[in-house]
Each structure stands twice: as C-alpha cells, then as structure tokens.
Subunit: 142 residues, 2 copies
DNA sequence: CGTTGATTAATCGCGTGCGATTATATTGTG
DNA sequence: CACAATATAATCGCACGCGATTAATCAACG
C-alpha cells in the first residue's frame, strides 16, 4: 500500500467505534422512552439491578463515569423515584445509592428491552459475541 | 445456562461499546490538546482533510452528526481559523465548509496522532483489524 | 489533641449529541 | 405566476461527559 493515509477516516479504528456507539444508543431511545430513561440512566439502573446499596464511587468505577456525571444523573433518577441517595452512617463522605421499590419494579418493564434490541442488531449472533469479546479485550487493556 | 440474566451489565453488547468509545476518546485528549482540538473536532477535520468544500449536510452524513451538533462545532473551528463557512451561491440554503490554509497546515501536526494512539491500543493489530471490520459491519447494518 | 494529608461527592465550565422547532430558500404544481 | 410542499441550516432545550476545583469528612502522625 504505497499511499496509506493515516489520517483518513476510513483507516481509523476509533471512528467506527465512536459512530457505532452513538448509533446504537440512538436505537435504544424508542424502547427506553416508555420507561422514562435515557441510555445512561438505563445502564446505571442495570448496574443497580445487579448490585445496589453501593457508593457513587463504586458505581462510577463499574460504569466508567465520575461523580460529575453521576451526581446529577442520580438526582434525576431519585426525582423519578427509582433510587434513594443517603449519606453513609459510618463514613459521612460517602453517598449510598439504593433502589426503591419502584426502581425494582421498573426492572419488570425493562426485561423486554434487550430482546427488542436484539431484533435491531443487524449482525449475526456469532459476530455479536466476537465483537463483544474484542471490545472487552480493548477495554481491559486500558 | 439456566440463569442467564438479559439485564446484567456483563451480558450486554452495548455497554462495552459505550464504555470503550468513551475510554478511547479520553486517550486521544493528551494528543489533541496541543492541537487545540476536541475529539469530535479532530474527526471533523479528518473528514475535511479527505474532502472539503462540502455542505454541512454532507459532512453530517459522513460523521453521523446533524446540524444541531455541527453548526456550533464548525463555528468553533472557524473561530480557530481552521475552516471557512459560506453560503452557497447556487443554493442559498446550503453552507459550504472549506479548509483554510491554517486548517490544511494543521494536518502536518496531526499526522503523528494516529501513531501515538497506536501505542496506546493494548490489543494486537490482528484484533484491531477484526474489531474495526465488525464495527463497520454493525454500523452498516443500521 | 491538633494539624496535615488523603478521600469522597458535589459543583463549575465547556463542548458535544440530539429531538424538536424555526427561518429561509428552492422546487413543484396548477 | 402563486402557493403549497420540500429541503437546508440554525436555534432551543435538556442530558450527558469530563477536567478542574471546592467542601466536607476521615485518617494518620507527632
């Protein structure tokens, strides 16, 4: 390849990653709107459905988000009645985030979302599995 | 798998895609700061280095961005002196975006960025190529 | 026991990202 | 030609996303 252009958009790994992430997020919107969740709020709820009663910092490390993003987001989830935020008794610096009953109930409405999205993904299950594995490898390499 | 949880974070394709995209963008920052570009501005400049003198709409379809994002972004690039925005003479609805000399010169400083980033990617070139191909397949399936 | 340093969230500022609307210009149709 | 339909960018509102700073609390050490 005598004329490989390192600055051409089509030669970047980052660009399809960036574009695909945005597109996929956009695909979630019609399924998340009925739940009153944004994509980031949905991911946060998934993390909490897995394990709640955690600090903002723990949640952030699982989601790759810091308190500047999480604090206002959690306040919105709290305003919707899905989560509870309270200072830890042992350590007043920490804020413990827990699901409310309404937040746990929301999970029932959300279980269909992954199945709806599976129908939107235009690649084979094998490709999807491989893609997921490669992304996780990239992510853990940082 | 008797207890597969469709709402577990570790069972999602979207989450590592979302997280890896953010992380990679963050990795670009130290290399882009000296150029005075954000990641999105860098991607926009790459698109223009490939082919400029295009409308906002054309640029947006190449970058998967709409005018609500591009217009203010292009105004910032214009304020930095990298691009030129002017109404088309044939069709006054269109705005033609072109590189300035300064914008073309910026390319010389940017050529090292992909090589710097290659050193930050913690996966093998083979994996990177395969990952790029799968992302493009996913993207084109939308 | 007080003071210093570290930890944790919250806040601030700026730049996306995008659905929805608006303003302007062009095109098509009778 | 008039006028409705369409196309294009700009604008608006809200929610991230994150580097940097701030405020409050805790831990360590003399």
């Amino acid at each position: 390849m005598p004329d490989f252009d390192p600055l051409a958009l089509e030669n970047q790994l980052c660009f399809p990653l960036y574009a695909a992430s945005k597109e996929l997020t956009r695909r979630y919107k019609p399924f998340l709107d009925p739940l009153g969740l944004t994509y980031t709020q949905y991911v946060t709820m998934m993390a909490l459905w897995g394990h709640d009663g955690v600090t903002v910092g723990e949640l952030g490390s699982r989601l790759y988000l810091d308190s500047a993003t999480l604090t206002p987001l959690l306040k919105r989830l709290e305003a919707h009645g899905y989560v509870d935020r309270k200072r830890s008794a042992e350590d007043e610096r920490e804020v413990i985030v827990s699901l409310t009953d309404k937040g746990r109930e929301l999970r029932e409405k959300a279980v269909s979302v992954p199945y709806c999205m599976a129908g939107c993904i235009g690649i084979s299950p094998e490709d999807a599995i491989q893609l997921k594995a490669l992304l996780e490898k990239l992510l853990s390499s940082f």
